[in-house]
């Protein structure tokens, strides 16, 4: 046994997945918790920017042994520090992230050897305790390469959510990805937060109104969370938010979904997050917001 949870996965640093040798973010430390059999844990070479990878297991294994075990999958680790820690994965991952002041944890959402739709125990625990945003990767992606072309960002229209999106915008900026910002309207009352922009209730002249509303939504987001060179498109969805997020993700072939989350996990909270995590075919980037926004 290498570890208790052993959720073998391809763990990568998608923030830089499209640019080889991206040195534009030397200050970024992305802690990648690789929990699983070393031979299944890989990282894309182009993710290599000196971010540390952590191997977490119950039994000791030297770094050289781990590197050997991973080498037939990828040589990416040659360019990265590899941190090995022993113990309970959920504790160690959170602890390591705190020590490294990690900005993002990338983690498999559950075990590939025991496929299940729900978030695995380790991933759930890390999500709840994490000091930083998480990227949760579905194990069924296996070892296929993936690049960030389109990042889907559901947005409730609140300034708080806009502020929380900075890591996602940074990610898109570095990857040259397009942000697909989706406002999902349903029968739930809009947030009372000042400056919240909901869907238009009136559309007198659709030939002007939709473009104007989309532009207003984008402008409000951009003035709180500067977009740099990131290209952005705004969509309006309606109906069940989780189903709509997944529909839009599929329709626009998004490579990642970004979800803002208030940090409350117990039922009935986080229903959208849980459902998206359960059914999304792409990685889900979970960002914690302040008091309002998100779910």
């Amino acid at each position: 046994m290498k570890s208790r949870c052993l959720n073998a996965t391809r763990a990568t640093t998608p923030a830089v997945a499209r640019e080889q040798g991206n040195h534009s973010c030397p200050a970024r430390r992305i802690e990648t918790g690789i929990v699983g059999r070393p031979d299944r844990a890989i990282a894309d070479r182009r993710g290599g920017i000196g971010n540390p990878f952590s191997y977490v297991g119950e039994s000791g294994e030297s770094e050289a042994e781990l590197r050997r075990g991973l080498s037939h999958q990828t040589d990416m680790l040659d360019e990265h520090p590899l941190i090995t820690r022993l113990g309970d994965p959920q504790e160690i991952i959170v602890q390591t992230a705190c020590e490294l002041k990690a900005e993002i944890i990338v983690l498999c959402k559950n075990s590939n050897s025991h496929p299940q739709p729900n978030l695995g125990r380790t991933a759930t625990a890390v999500l709840r305790e994490s000091p930083c945003p998480l990227i949760l990767v579905p194990p069924e992606r296996g070892l296929t390469s993936w690049y960030l072309h389109h990042i889907l960002v559901p947005h409730d229209g609140t300034p708080t959510t806009s502020a929380a999106l900075k890591p996602a915008v940074d990610l898109a900026d570095r990857a040259g990805a397009e942000l697909l910002v989706a406002h999902i309207t349903d029968s739930i009352s809009a947030s009372k937060e000042p400056g919240t922009l909901t869907s238009p209730r009136y559309v007198d002249q659709p030939q002007y109104e939709w473009a104007a509303w989309g532009s207003e939504f984008a402008n409000r987001l951009a003035c709180i969370c500067p977009l740099g060179h990131v290209h952005l498109r705004v969509f309006l969805g309606h109906g069940d938010p989780a189903a709509e997020i997944l529909r839009l993700s599929e329709r626009h072939s998004s490579d990642m979904i970004v979800l803002a989350w208030r940090g409350e996990w117990e039922v009935p909270r986080a229903a959208i997050l849980k459902e998206v995590l359960r059914r999304a075919h792409c990685p889900v980037f979970v960002l914690r917001t302040g008091e309002t926004g998100g779910e």
Binding site: A190, G195, Q205, E216, H238
Partner: protein
């Protein structure tokens, strides 16, 4: 009394005249710029922060001056940003995102038509600066915009730099060769009211000393002229600005006097409901700000002069939603707006001919020339390209304009207008309908493939509103002929000769009006909104009561077209406009039937429902719709007003005056039968 020194001016004390924004919420800036716009019907300027912020979209528009790249759709021209001002204190920029604001308040003073700003700012070194500004678009001299900015260093002495973006003058020339010149003159007045320079003299960058506790004021005027008024707009603008800067106190006093007169004629006072009071004044303020009785070449676009929305185009909103306000409060402005339609008759005739009809078909979206400017396509947020058919099919606009002409004449008794312009509009629009109808096997005239006010249903046959208004238009033209022949036989003869109107043609209008299919069912007392409407899917809108999106978004375009859900009052609009022609029972039946099927996807919808509900005595419903209508621009959560305030403001005013107060005219005499809510 009105001649107060600039330094002594203050906002109106009564809060019912004020729209106040405390603090600063960056993301709301666009809608506040629209709400706080100052305008005078000739020029309008958004209420942007002088120093700007990351979301600022300052813009100043000149009514009726459009521009477009060849092949694209014309939009209102935005002229140079005359009001921009960067202030530096001891090398530190005075901005909302630098240092901290101890107090920040913007006030739209509707009574004086001034935008005020009060700000106390503390920089990182603890220097506290008091900033007070006002801005206005002169109603007394429509070519002038005025700004005054006072700076008081509260706890320090140091240096200040006032950097104006625009000094001197600048000219914009449209692709059609219209020149728009804006010239700026300013002066900086020191503590003893001595002029210490100007931004131009100080090159906008030279620091000057400011002393603790003393107030320094920048007075700035911008003069705007176009080549439509003068052959030398730049020269005239410069000399006008230079002359005005030396008499700013007078300019402001004249402006206040002009607004005092306007409010005297227009103000509606509401007792016991300060929100309704403020909303009504907000509506009247923007309507009054948008009109110019001295210019017959322009009408009011659906967003007035408060923003770039709808590219500044003029829709049916102008005649049906805004004009009634002017009919009752400012007939000179109403006349000018209708003269715009008279001057654009050639384009309306050409539009009718282009579509294969006679007479005049007014453009659904009209700009300077009156040609139809409706974009043929739109791209949805999902990237779907959809056809826009309103320009081709929303023909009721011709009858709406005729209706406005008739009611202006009724209200004003302006014979000259009628004989010089109004009659021609009525005749040409009647001719359009006479050519638009088809006599079919049932011996009834039908109007096929149109869009009524309910734009969820396109290409429908015999839309009740369109047919009802066409019938009214034909009858009105025949009635006009009778009255003119009787009262002004010579002038009428001249008109009939010039327009080749024959007695047979007038007879034909009467006959078509009589035999035009209306969709009215004697048995139920209902108008069918269009042929086949009653067979469409019924959808219980109460299940969507908490929706935050329009029904066509929730149901999709295809399903909504196959349902009875309507976008805005259609039959109910007809009931309102033809109120006195319909029996009380018919009014009530149709309102009750269609109200429950209305999704209110248009901002114009709630106000008309409020009005009709009030007239029918359904006061709780009327109040709810009134509140909904008042919130369209003021509720701050839909972004609807980011590109300008809505024409629905005119509907709100009508709901109050023609609904709740139920102002009626009988043989020209006004009578009021109030239906007021209990609260």
């Amino acid at each position: 009394m009105l001649d107060i020194a600039v330094s002594s001016l203050a906002p109106t004390a009564d809060p019912a005249w004020l729209l106040v924004e405390q603090g600063f919420t960056l993301v709301r800036e666009h809608e506040l710029e629209s709400q706080f716009a100052v305008a005078n019907g000739y020029v309008g300027s958004r209420g942007s922060l002088a120093e700007g912020c990351p979301l600022s979209a300052p813009a100043t528009f000149v009514a009726g001056v459009f521009d477009a790249e060849p092949g694209s759709i014309p939009h209102l021209v935005q002229i140079w940003d005359w009001s921009h001002l960067s202030v530096s204190i001891c090398g530190q920029p005075l901005r909302l995102d630098v240092g901290r604001s101890l107090e920040h308040r913007r006030i739209l003073d509707m009574r004086q038509a001034m935008l005020w700003r009060h700000w106390r700012h503390e920089d990182d070194a603890g220097r506290i600066t008091r900033f007070k500004s006002l801005r206005l678009a002169s109603l007394a001299d429509r070519h002038l915009l005025v700004q005054s900015v006072e700076i008081t260093p509260e706890n320090y002495s140091g240096t200040a730099i006032l950097d104006a973006f625009l000094t001197g003058s600048a000219t914009h020339i449209t692709h059609e060769g219209v020149s728009v010149a804006v010239a700026v003159a300013d002066r900086i007045v020191g503590p003893d009211e001595f002029v210490i320079g100007s931004t131009e003299f100080l090159e906008g960058r030279r620091p000057f000393e400011i002393e603790k506790g003393s107030t320094y004021r920048l007075e700035r005027v911008a003069a705007v002229y176009t080549s439509r008024e003068t052959t030398a707009p730049d020269e005239i603008a410069r000399s006008h600005a230079e002359s005005a800067i030396s008499r700013v106190t007078d300019v402001i006093a004249e402006h206040r006097q002009a607004w005092q007169a306007r409010w005297h004629a227009s103000d509606v006072q509401v007792e016991g409901n300060s929100r309704a009071q403020r909303a009504l004044r907000f509506a009247a303020y923007h309507l009054l700000s948008s009109a110019n009785p001295q210019d017959e070449r322009v009408a009011i676009g659906a967003r007035g002069l408060s923003g770039p929305g709808y590219k500044g185009h003029v829709f049916w909103d102008t005649e049906i939603f805004m004009l009634p306000f002017f009919l009752l409060t400012w007939q000179e402005a109403a006349r000018a707006m209708l003269m715009y339609r008279y001057h654009t008759l050639p384009a309306a005739r050409a539009n009718a001919a282009y579509q294969g009809y006679g007479g005049a078909l007014y453009a659904w979206e009209s700009a300077a020339s009156g040609e139809d400017m409706t974009p043929p396509f739109a791209v949805t947020l999902e990237g779907e390209v959809i056809r826009i058919l309103t320009g081709e099919q929303e023909h009721h606009i011709s009858a709406d304009i005729a209706y406005a002409v008739w009611h202006y004449w009724e209200a004003s008794g302006d014979e000259r207008f009628l004989l010089d312009a109004g009659a021609e509009i009525l005749i040409e629009t009647a001719r359009f309908w006479a050519s638009r109808v088809r006599l079919e096997d049932d011996n009834r005239y039908h109007i096929r493939r149109v869009i009524g006010p309910d734009e969820y249903h396109e290409s429908v046959d015999d839309n009740a509103y369109t047919n009802g208004m066409a019938q009214w238009n034909l009858d009105a033209a025949a009635e006009l002929a009778e009255q003119c022949a009787m009262k002004w036989p010579e002038q009428w003869q001249s008109i009939t000769r010039r327009l080749a109107v024959s007695c047979e043609e007038i007879q034909c209008w009467r006959q078509i009006a009589r035999d035009l299919y209306t969709g009215f069912d004697e048995r139920t007392g209902l108008f069918e909104q269009f042929q086949g409407y009653f067979d469409l899917e019924e959808i219980d809108l109460s299940k969507y009561a908490n929706r935050t999106a329009p029904m066509d978004v929730l149901l999709g375009r295809e399903r909504i077209a196959k349902s009875q859900v309507i976008k805005q009052p259609d039959v109910v609009m007809l009931v309102y406009l033809l109120w006195d022609r319909l029996p009380a029972e018919v009014r009530k039946n149709n309102f009750e039937y269609y109200e429950s099927r209305c999704g209110h996807g248009s901002s114009l919808s709630p106000a008309i429902h409020a009005l009709v509900a009030a007239r029918l005595g359904k006061m709780a419903m009327a109040e709810r719709y009134f509140r909904q209508s008042a919130e369209i621009d003021l509720a701050n959560n839909m972004g609807n007003s980011a590109t300008g305030v809505q024409a629905a403001l005119g509907g709100l005013w009508q709901a109050a005056v023609l609904g709740f107060a139920s102002l009626h005219f009988q043989q020209g005499d006004p009578s009021v039968r109030p239906n007021l809510p209990e609260n």
